[in-house]
C-alpha cells in the first residue's frame, strides 16, 4: 500500500473517534427533521430577505406576523387574493407560513398557489411562525 494512502487511512481513523463522541453529544436527531420538498428553513429564508413575499396562512386576525407578510388563507381565499396579487411580482419568492405547520394551513395555501395560480417558486416555512421567532 502506498505510504500516502496508508497515512490518509490513519488520519481518517484518528478523526473517527472524536467524530463519534461529537455525534453522541451534539446531535438531537429529532430536533431538526429533514426538509420535505417545497420547504425552506427560516435561516435560508432570512438570506433571501428582500425578494421574499411572505404569506401568512393563519386564518383570522393576528397581532404578530412576519413584517410585510400578506394574509392569505383557504377560508378567505377569494377576498384575500387581490391583496396578494398587489404585493406579488414574478421576481418574488413566495414563502408561506402558519403557526407551527401542525394545522397544514401553509401547505394548503402553498399547494393552491402552485396548482391553481401556477405561481413558482412557492415554499412552506419549516416550523412555521414559531420557528421564525426562535
Amino acid at each position: 500500500m502506498p505510504p500516502t494512502l496508508r497515512q490518509l487511512i490513519a488520519l481518517m481513523l484518528i478523526a473517527l473517534a472524536p467524530a463519534l463522541v461529537s455525534a453522541a453529544v451534539q446531535l438531537q436527531w429529532r430536533a431538526n427533521p429533514p426538509l420535505e420538498p417545497g420547504e425552506v428553513r427560516p435561516a435560508t429564508a432570512r438570506l433571501w430577505a428582500a425578494r421574499v413575499l411572505w404569506v401568512d396562512a393563519r386564518p383570522g386576525k393576528r397581532a404578530r406576523r412576519i413584517e410585510d407578510a400578506v394574509s392569505l388563507n383557504t377560508k378567505e381565499w377569494e377576498s384575500r387574493l387581490p391583496a396578494f396579487f398587489a404585493a406579488w411580482s414574478a421576481e418574488k419568492t413566495v414563502v408561506v407560513y402558519d403557526q407551527n405547520q401542525e394545522s397544514g394551513d401553509a401547505a394548503n395555501v402553498a399547494a393552491r398557489l402552485r396548482d391553481e395560480l401556477k405561481i413558482d417558486p412557492v415554499y412552506v416555512l419549516k416550523g412555521g411562525y414559531e420557528a421564525w421567532r426562535r
Binding site: A15, P34, L47
Partner: protein, 143 residues
C-alpha cells in the same frame, strides 16, 4: 521558507474551519443540505465527520506528521468543496456556504472559487516541495 509559511497557514485554516463547524454539527448539517446534493442522513454524516477530518489534517500539516496523508486529505476536501460551490453556482442557489460554521450571509461564488483554486495550487506546491525534499540525497555527515 515559503513552504513552511504555507504549511502553517493552510494547517491553521483547516484547524479553524474544522473547530468552528465541529462546535455546531447540526447547523453544519443544514448548511450541507442547503447544497441540495445529499440526503439529510448523508448530510448529518458529513457534518459529524468532516470537521474532525479537517481538524486532524490541520494539526498533521502543522506538526508535519502523517504529512503526505494530510496533504491528500486536504486536497480531496478542497476539491470536493470547490465542486459543490461550482454546482451551487451553476444551479443559482442562494445559500450560506457553511465554510466556517454558522453564517448568515450570501455565498460570494466567484470569491470562493478563486480562494479554493488558490488553496488547491498551494497544496500542489506543498506536495511538489515534499517530493523534492524526499528525492534529495541525504547530506553526508561532517566528521
Amino acid at each position: 521558507m515559503a513552504s513552511i509559511i504555507l504549511r502553517w497557514a493552510i494547517g491553521l485554516l483547516f484547524l479553524c474551519a474544522g473547530l468552528l463547524k465541529a462546535s455546531d454539527a447540526q447547523q453544519f448539517a443544514m448548511d450541507v443540505q442547503n447544497y441540495e446534493l445529499t440526503s439529510w442522513t448523508f448530510s448529518i454524516l458529513i457534518a459529524v465527520y468532516l470537521p474532525w477530518l479537517e481538524i486532524v489534517s490541520g494539526i498533521a500539516l502543522i506538526a508535519r506528521r502523517l504529512y503526505s496523508g494530510a496533504l491528500a486529505a486536504s486536497t480531496v476536501m478542497t476539491a470536493a468543496f470547490l465542486a459543490a460551490i461550482l454546482s451551487a453556482w451553476w444551479r443559482d442557489l442562494d445559500i450560506a456556504c457553511g465554510c466556517f460554521g454558522p453564517e448568515i450571509n450570501h455565498t460570494n461564488y466567484p470569491l470562493h472559487i478563486i480562494g479554493n483554486t488558490l488553496l488547491l495550487l498551494a497544496l500542489a506546491f506543498l506536495k511538489i516541495t515534499e517530493r523534492r525534499s524526499n528525492l534529495q540525497p541525504a547530506q553526508p555527515g561532517i566528521s
